[in-house]
Symmetry: C2
Subunit: 221 residues, 2 copies
């Protein structure tokens, strides 16, 4: 009886200990596997062919004169944008980069919901891709309520923030000192989602074209 | 004997369990108290008096016509910059904002080590504060190796990153749609520290003035 009792109590102790250790182990695993994604990219980017980003399964190699198979800041940026599977909210001052335009059009053709908010003046300059996006049926709104709508951020699938100093132009990508910060940190992503929504609603043409007394540039911030 | 043995084993189990629970508790406490600082500020900022940011203990109230005691995006930005106690590394495209200039000069007078890296063209435009900082004895270097040194970031005390779309100008603060992201996340801060160091060394006048064959704008990125 005494031996049986001892065995039972020892077993209970072992079970309690192993249960606690497993709990600790799972917690550590969760902390490790659930690590928040962060990435920083600097520009100018090395100039390289980006065809493989758009057609990774193509049987025909690209014969352009640029270096091939090189991973650069720009290819990483393109991959982040192209990772969108449900939505892309883009808030951009200047947008003339053809590869980034192709990325947005590719997402649109895949059925990804795209909203573009841009600066009213820069939308119309030579080389701007805003008209191309509009022609493709992508929903674009121009900010009417500030001197410059100077943001340069995108929110991918409502969870990944891509922001920084970089406008979506060729000069910014290939010639300037620029930065892009990529993060999934909710405390950083959520305010940008909220701000995008605020600006999107505020610049709804249905609202500001109907009432001359309440143009967005008269709304107090 | 049997009873004593039982008591010992039970005690051992209880100790193991309480030890594991305490470990879990401490882990949670550490996760909670050690939370990484994140903040997002949007602009344009409400226009308000910032005198109390510079002279919080002053006995004489400010009599300017602006609203007083208002916490805005700009006062928060100023507080972040003024929180520097040992160093401020600033990498900025355009710098003409007088209040931000005053903040940098205040830090300089407190003995904070300041390094400013800026764009060669924008450093000389009318209203630029770069000359004022240089006259005060602050170390300034101009980037010579790109079309535009378009960054707008600061690293406070080697641990806090302040970055975004906002140039340090009055228009950016009061009139444009802009963003500032503040974070202590090491995975985001460290690359900016590294990049600042790279650009600072690369734009050392002692290097690029001595050799006409190796001007920074000829260095391959």
């Amino acid at each position: 009886m005494s031996v049986m009792w001892t065995v039972k109590v020892v077993s209970l102790g072992v079970v309690a200990l192993s249960f606690s250790l497993e709990l600790l182990g799972r917690l550590f695993c969760r902390l490790r596997s659930g690590r928040t994604l962060h990435e920083v990219l600097f520009f100018p980017s090395e100039v390289a062919c980006v065809e493989h980003i758009f057609t990774p399964t193509s049987a025909h190699p690209c014969f352009c004169s640029l270096p091939h198979g090189v991973e650069t800041s720009f290819t990483r940026l393109l991959r982040r944008i192209l990772s969108a599977s449900s939505s892309l909210d883009l808030c951009i001052f200047a947008f003339s980069n053809m590869d980034l335009s192709r990325a947005v059009l590719t997402l649109h053709s895949r059925g990804v919901t795209i909203r573009v908010l841009t600066d009213k003046d820069y939308a119309a300059i030579t080389g701007s891709q805003i008209g191309v996006l509009r022609k493709a049926g992508i929903c674009v709104r121009c900010d009417m309520g500030s001197v410059y709508m100077h943001h340069k951020f995108a929110v991918v699938d409502g969870r990944l923030l891509v922001t920084g100093s970089l406008n979506w132009t060729l000069t910014a990508v290939q010639s300037n000192m620029e930065n892009i910060l990529v993060t999934e940190e909710p405390e950083l992503v959520q305010p940008f989602i909220k701000e995008f929504h605020r600006l999107w609603v505020r610049n709804d043409p249905a609202t500001y074209l109907c009432s001359s007394d309440q143009k967005p540039n008269q709304i107090k911030h």
